[in-house]
Every structure is written in structure tokens, then in C-alpha cells.
Symmetry: C2
């Protein structure tokens, strides 16, 4: 049974580790004169003009939740990588010529080419004059006309309903039906500016202290740090449950029970987050494992957050994606009455359209009055980006057999997924061949999360530098090779273990080069600190 | 001196008035069996499977801040308007054939045609193959190439830095410099998915109770309800200050003093929001008025939120837009050291690209460590939509004299603004000619906010129906004419006065028709209730 690493200590850990250096990395044009605070009386409105020169917003009165939140995927390591890129541009000499950003699942940034059909439809809805251009295929034009017919004034420049354009929500429902073989109600689909937006909008509904206890949300450790960041921002209690590295990062029900029992002492557990396929861990959950989780959530009365943005990214032999909705519905009552939100994104899969910010939540069995409040809450933000919605439409309603774009679409889609499959294996194999590293099979998603044994001397040195040992390793790697990864401490890990997350996204040749460089660095690192 | 209408009582008012009917307007597929709550023990983790059928998320344990928040621009009246549209589609007979949505500043929805240059650039960056198409002008291609060069992997599908693409931030700084004649630092520009996103991201920095007092934010009454909604969501104290209707909705410093003194008893005032040009009130503040406000904010140690999204929408003779930044900088120290966030959007002005979700905050004099926290906080949401950013770029760096698109761009831009100027006058004149109505000059923005005297019998009837009198009027108007406006109570108003907001956006012929219908309805309404 693993030891408990509370969210609080994880946070503390994160802060100590990462805040050093962060604040100095942004310049501003502030020229405020700093006066001793004794000259300022904050509790009176009778003050002379000369006294107000200190900023009114300071680290002392800043939102305390913002102070503690951390988002490692864009943390100090990534900021340093950006600085190094600028230094290289200026001609500073380094032992490498470019930074390889393996820190973030940013497909196009790593050379993946956009799917033609998606971009054709987007160009058509943006600039409808192109509907007369014979070089655009008819199915793309048909999709564009459908989307424009759903836009007020036939323009993507008008606001849509806050949960999105009706026809796109309907296409999403049809997509889900095809995927699961289970009916889907388009009114349960809420389109969003990427999955992050959708997740935060559902999560914030749960902010409610009961009997002086904070609402608690179970998140996997390691986890995608959007969850820890959002829970910190919302002042909710993070209940970490450890994924079982020895079972390829599966969920162990005994561990779920342990973590919720610990958490009930200090919080009111309300929800469980499951990321499947896993980020950063790359596992694909078996149907049996999902059933166990659903039974657990049912027993504990938890709202299920199924983060399923990598549903198209399944590579390993024998692995198959099952949606939580499908399993829950097929289990029948009482499970099929449970509250579930499933999240999808345009940013991952084969399309990788991160920058367009499209996604949705499918929300099941939400109490009607609560759902009305949810829809009211998102209405003040008006609507998700219409071009992000249009992008989502092309994924929910892709070219069909017999349509002119079908063959090319399939070729491009399979090209991306087949290549990712090869790279998933290439990455895990490479790390497994390095001394002291062990890496689970990357069954799905876009990441490997290898375990690394670090030499005690390196750990000592890291502590001297006030860095987590894996962050120390990652900084050394970056400065020596230009490879940017994210240390395991940014996602959480069993105390005393060290990991890192790398994407599998560099194009094959670049990836090979990166893995060679990595192996070379690792050998030298071990020599240096052995 | 106006009487105090506290934000609390405004909220209460709003809730009583608006919540009726809201929850019944959304259907869900929920099939959860409702069990008496006595059968459920929320404080134990030992429960049998059969007992969990009640939803875990209910109105009782929903986020209480979400429960109280209201957003009238998309409130029950607008929901009813949507229902009426569906009824009309189905052939239900009504005294009108279409709904005219004068409730929301949604330009393209009301027939405004997109600016060609903007859409050309967007099509080019979305589908770069079009860079070879000779029918696209060279300046649009040059802009597209600049934007793509700022995108990782030259794709708008990759993530950007969280505050946006560097070259676009630089173009925004240059735009601000041209506007104000004052230097702007591109690192102070934080691009966002529309101004709403930017406003909420700065506002949330101020969430911090001091000595048990909530942070307070001064907002104009009437105000754009994004502010009341966000303050409710963040559990901050709304400090309403009344705009002076008798001075064309200007800001009266005595009223600012009154409202902050009242508010200090129960909250810790930290910021002041000024909307200029005004929404819903249409005023354009004089330079002198802005100076007074800045001096007041300085005296009180307030962070200034300058909502300047209508900066291009100035129509009245003698009115001119001055940015808060320009005035504050030209006032010199100590004012030029004050903290200010100015917000801009792609959704308004002459472009009206609401659906693309582009905007920015220019943040001045923010304490460097605080600014680092601000940038950290937005990083978990990854980045604003890249196509929204690209749209912003076309506005920050429009066609220049001598470039091929210049003449047409200017013609289209001035066409929109000249027409809005005519419509601004047409709307105010029309309402001033109706019995019991008086409407200030629409100096800027996109709205008129007429004052209406309602017959006592109509007010009585409204109370019987548990509606605010102006909401009663607006519902009657909608059901009888199809015209959808927003009652003044959605924005706040002096107690005992009644107003409504209408946009000036219907195209001229449609607007004339709408105003005629409105006048006819109003006459009948007065007859019925006199």
C-alpha cells in the first residue's frame, strides 16, 4: 500500500521546487516608486495624493489561490527553454542548435501536418466567397454551408448559443452514438474552447463547502496538472490516488478506497477524475477496470469526470478504448443513472488542432435545475470560438465513404495514427534500453512517463540547489541537449520515485535524433554523479 | 444625491425577478430516480448500491455563487425569444413573422457584412495553400505570412505562448502608440479569447479577503452584466455607483465618493470599472471627467479597469474617445504610476467579429511579481484561440496607405461606422418622440438606454406576475412584436426608474421597421394600462 502524499504536500513540494526563478522571468514597464508600507494606510479613505505610489495589488493581497497554483507543462523549465531559444537566435553558442519541445502535446508545433479536409472547411466558413472556387471539394463545401446555416447572419463572426451551434451539437451526438452504440442526446453536449474550458466549467459547479469541509476531487497521481491547477484556483481539496506503475498505470480499487478514506477526514469528496487514455502515463484502461471504477464511484456517490481527449490515440496490441459512458450505460441501473461528464478535444487525436480551441463536454444525468445553472454560468462568457466549433464539426462529421474527400482524409488520418504508434514503441524501447530507466508500454495518448533511478549524489546536488531531483535532471538535460521534458514532480509521483514526461510527437527522424542525444546525455550524467 | 441601491439588494431583485421560468427552459435526458433524502447518508462511505439514485450534485450543494449569478443579456427573455423563433419555424401563428434580436451587440447576426481584409487574412492563415492564389491581395498575404511565422510549426493549430503570439502583441503595442501618442510595451499586452476572458482573468487576481472583508469592485449602474456576473461568481462585493442620467450618463465624483464610503463599511474596495464608451448607456466620457475619475481612483488606491471595447464607436458631434492610459500618462506622476488594465475586443468597433473571440488587456504598472502570477494563472488554459489572435492582428495592423487593400478596407470600415452614426441618431430620436420615453444622445457604443414612465396599472400588473415592471414591458413587447430588448433591471437603474437597452444594430430599413412597430406597440400598451 503506497504512502499518502497529500495534495497539500504536493503543492508545497511544487512551490518550493518551481517558484524560484519564475518571477524574475517577466519584465514589466512598472516604474512605481516603492514607499515603505508604514507610510500607507490601507484602511482609510482619507489619504493624501503623495502617499499612493505603492501598487494596490501586491503579493500580500493577491488572490492566495493563484499564488499556490502551479502548471508544470508551462512552468519554469519551459520558460527557460523559451529563453534558450532566444539566446540561440541571437547567436549564443550552445552544445546544440535547437530546442526540442517534448514538454507539451503540441502536434503541429512538432511538424504534424494539418488534415486537409479540416482546413478546407475552416477556410470556406471563414471566407465564403471560396464556396465558388472549384478547387474545393463538394463535401467540404456541404459541411461549410451546414455550419454557416447554423450561424446567425450566416457569419462565423456572430455569437452562437452559449453551449454551441445546434447542428454541431447534433453531429457530436451522432459521433458519440457511432462510437458507443448507445443513444446520445444533443442537448447534453456543451461545446467549449478546448477541453480545459469544459472541465473547469463543470468542476466549478462543485465548489461548495459542507459542514466546514472543502469539496474534494479525486485525481490520479501522476495527473495532468490542469486538475491540480484548477483545484488550487477554486480552493478545492485535491485527493490524489496513485496509479499502479507495476500494472502499467492501471487503477487499483484498494488504492482508491485508501485515498478517499484518508480524504474524508479533511474534505467532502464529490468527484473522481479519470484520464483515459492516460496523461502523462499512456495507459488505456480495460473495460473491467472501468467497471470497477464506476462501482467505486457509485458506492461513494461521486460525480465522474472522464477525460477522454485521447480516445483516438490507442496504439498497443490488445488495447481498446471504452468510453465511460458506454460502460456505465451497459452496466444498467443503478449505474446508468450516475452523473458523468465526458470531455473531448480537437487538440489531440489525429487532428492535433490545439490552437483552434475546440472541445465539448457530454454531461449525463445532471439534475435538470443544476443543468440550467450550468448553462446560465457559461452564458456570461457568451460563446466558445465559432471557428473552434467549426473544427469540432469536421471531426464529429468527417468525410463519409463515397464522398470526394473520404480517401484522402482516411489516408491522412491513418498516416498520423500509424506513425504515432511506431513512435510510441520507439520511445518506450529507447528508454528501456537506458541504464536505470524503466518505461511502461505506451498503450495510448501522446506521452511516455519513464521511471528513473537517480544517483544519490545527483539527488544531494539537487537538494543543494533547492530543486526536486527530477527537475534538476530535466534542467541539466535542457541546458546540455536542448531537449525540454517535464519532471515527474510536475504531475505527482510516489514519494522517492523519479519520472519525467516526454511526448512522442517529434517526427520520426527528429525523434530518433532526440533519443540518441538523450541516451548520450544520460550516460554522461550517470558518469558525472556516480 | 441618489439613494443607495446596494449590490446585494440588486442581486436579490435580480433573482426574484428573473429566476422564475429559467430552470424549466432546459430539458435533459436525466432519468435518475428520486429517492427521499432521508434514505441517503452523505457523511458515510459505507452505503449500499441501491441507495444511490439521487444525483450527487443538487441545487442544495451546487456552488452558491453560481446560483446567484445572473446574466441578463442572455436571460429568460432571450431564452423565450429563442423559443418563439422555434415556434415560428413550426408555423405557429404570431402577430409578427420574425424575432428581432435587439438584445445583444451581435453585429453580423444583424446583417453587418464582415470586413473583406480580415476574412482574407484568416482564410490564408487557416489554409496556407491559398497563399498561391492570385486572387488574394499581397498585403493580406504578407500579414498571413507574418502571423504564420509567429506560429510554431507555421500552423495556427499549434499552441502559442499563453499571452499570445509575440508579433501580434507587438502590433497591438504599435496600435496603442498610434492611438495615444504614448509609448506602449508589447510585454504589457495579454491577448485573450475576447475581452470578457481578459476582464475575468485580471479581476480574479483581486480575490482576497482582508480582515474578514470581501474585496469590493466599483461598477457603474447601469452596467454591462458581465461585471455583476463575474463578481457574483468570484464572491466579490459589487459596489454600484450611479451614472448621472441628467448629465448624459456621465460620472459624478460626489456619487463615487458616496458609494465607496458606504461600501467601506462592508467591503474592502480594490478596483473601479469604467466602461467608455458606455454600455448600456452610450455616453463618451470627456477628458475632464476621466481626469476626475483617475484622481478619485488614486485617492482611494483603486486598480482601474478601463473597458474600452467601443473605442472605435464614437458618433456624436464634439465627442471624442480618450483612453484612460493616455489621460493617466499625460497627468504625470503620481497618476502615471497607477495600475490600469485597458480592455479591447474584436467583437465591437467596425469589425464586429464576436464569434472569433479575440481581444486583449493592456496592463500597466502591475507589480512584477504579481504580473508573473497573472501570467502563470492564464497558462493552465494554454492559449487564446489562434484564429481569434489572427483576427486581432488584422485590426491592430490594418491595411496601410499605398497597400492594395487600403481603399476598400477604408470604404468598408467607414461604411459601417457612418451607418451606425445615422442609426444612433435615428434610435434616440424615435424614442424621444414616444410618449413617456426620454433617451439621451447615443454618443458612442452600440446601444440606447431610454428611460420610460410606466403607467401605475402596468406596474401593479407586473408585481402580480412577480416580474420587474420593465421586464413585464419587455415580455409584452416580445410576445406582441417579436422585438427582443433587455429590461433596465438587468443592468441596474435608480430605484423607481425604468429603462431598457436596445442595440442600434438592425440594418437601417429593418431598424426603421422595428422602431415603427415599437411605437405602435407602445401606444397600445399605454392605452391598455392607462
Amino acid at each position: 500500500m503506497p504512502r499518502l502524499l497529500s495534495s497539500l504536500s504536493l503543492h508545497r513540494h511544487g512551490i518550493n521546487m518551481r517558484r524560484s526563478g519564475l518571477t524574475s522571468l517577466f519584465r514589466t514597464s512598472s516604474s512605481a516608486v516603492q514607499l515603505p508600507s508604514s507610510q500607507i494606510n490601507h484602511n482609510t479613505n482619507v489619504r493624501t495624493m503623495a502617499t499612493q505610489a505603492k501598487p494596490t495589488l501586491t503579493m500580500e493581497n493577491l488572490n492566495p489561490n493563484i499564488k499556490v497554483m502551479e502548471y508544470a507543462v508551462r512552468g519554469p523549465l519551459v520558460i527557460r527553454a523559451g529563453e534558450i531559444e532566444k539566446e540561440l537566435e541571437k547567436g549564443v553558442k550552445k552544445p546544440f542548435t535547437e530546442v526540442i519541445k517534448a514538454n507539451i502535446g503540441d502536434c503541429h508545433a512538432m511538424g504534424q501536418v494539418p488534415i486537409t479536409f479540416i482546413r478546407e472547411v475552416l477556410a470556406l466558413v471563414t471566407y465564403p466567397k471560396l464556396l465558388e472556387d472549384p478547387s474545393f471539394p463538394d463535401d467540404a463545401k456541404m459541411r461549410a454551408k451546414l455550419i454557416l446555416a447554423g450561424c446567425r447572419g450566416s457569419s462565423v463572426g456572430s455569437y452562437t448559443d452559449s453551449p454551441g451551434i445546434e447542428i454541431i451539437r447534433k453531429h457530436a451526438a451522432e459521433y458519440i452514438e457511432r462510437r458507443d452504440g448507445i443513444p446520445a442526446d444533443w442537448q447534453n453536449i456543451v461545446i467549449s474552447a478546448g477541453a480545459s474550458d469544459a472541465i473547469k466549467n463543470v468542476l466549478k459547479l462543485l465548489i461548495c463547502d459542507v459542514n466546514g469541509k472543502k469539496p474534494g476531487v479525486m485525481v490520479p497521481i501522476p495527473q495532468y496538472p490542469l486538475y491540480s491547477a484548477s483545484l488550487a484556483e477554486f480552493n478545492m481539496h485535491q485527493i490524489g490516488y496513485f496509479l499502479d506503475e507495476s500494472r502499467n498505470w492501471g487503477l487499483d480499487i484498494a488504492e482508491l478506497n485508501r485515498s478517499i478514506q484518508e480524504a474524508r477526514k479533511v474534505s467532502n469528496p464529490r468527484a473522481i477524475v479519470v484520464i483515459n487514455p492516460g496523461n502523462p502515463t499512456g495507459q488505456v484502461l480495460s473495460r473491467e477496470n472501468i467497471e470497477e471504477i464506476i462501482k467505486f464511484a457509485h458506492k461513494e456517490g461521486l460525480f465522474i469526470f472522464a477525460d477522454e481527449v485521447y480516445q483516438d490515440n490507442v496504439y498497443a496490441e490488445g488495447s481498446k478504448f471504452f468510453s465511460f459512458k458506454k460502460v456505465l450505460m451497459e452496466m444498467g441501473a443503478p449505474f446508468s443513472n450516475m452523473e458523468l461528464a465526458s470531455f473531448m478535444s480537437c487538440s489531440k487525436g489525429y487532428m492535433g488542432e490545439c490552437g483552434l480551441r475546440g472541445g465539448y463536454a457530454e454531461v449525463l444525468n445532471m439534475e435538470p435545475k443544476v443543468k440550467a445553472m450550468y448553462l446560465k454560468a457559461i452564458s456570461a462568457m457568451l460563446c466558445p470560438t465559432v471557428l473552434g466549433q467549426a473544427c469540432l464539426d469536421t471531426i464529429m462529421y468527417p468525410p463519409q465513404p463515397g464522398e470526394p474527400s473520404y480517401d484522402n482524409f482516411l489516408k491522412e488520418k491513418n498516416g498520423v495514427l500509424d506513425s504515432l504508434k511506431l513512435r510510441a514503441k520507439m520511445v518506450a524501447d529507447a528508454f528501456n534500453s537506458m541504464e536505470g530507466f524503466s518505461c511502461n508500454t505506451v498503450q495510448g495518448a501522446m506521452y511516455a512517463f519513464p521511471n528513473m533511478k537517480l544517483p544519490p549524489k545527483a539527488i544531494e546536488e539537487a537538494k543543494k540547489q533547492n530543486k526536486a531531483p527530477d527537475a534538476f535532471y530535466a534542467f541539466e538535460l535542457l541546458e546540455n541537449t536542448g531537449i525540454c521534458i517535464v519532471p515527474g514532480s510536475g504531475f505527482g509521483q510516489q514519494p522517492g520515485t523519479y519520472h519525467f514526461r516526454t511526448t512522442i510527437l517529434p517526427q520520426p527522424e527528429k525523434l530518433k535524433e532526440m533519443l540518441n542525444k538523450f541516451a548520450e546525455f544520460h550516460k554522461k550524467f550517470l558518469q558525472k554523479w556516480c
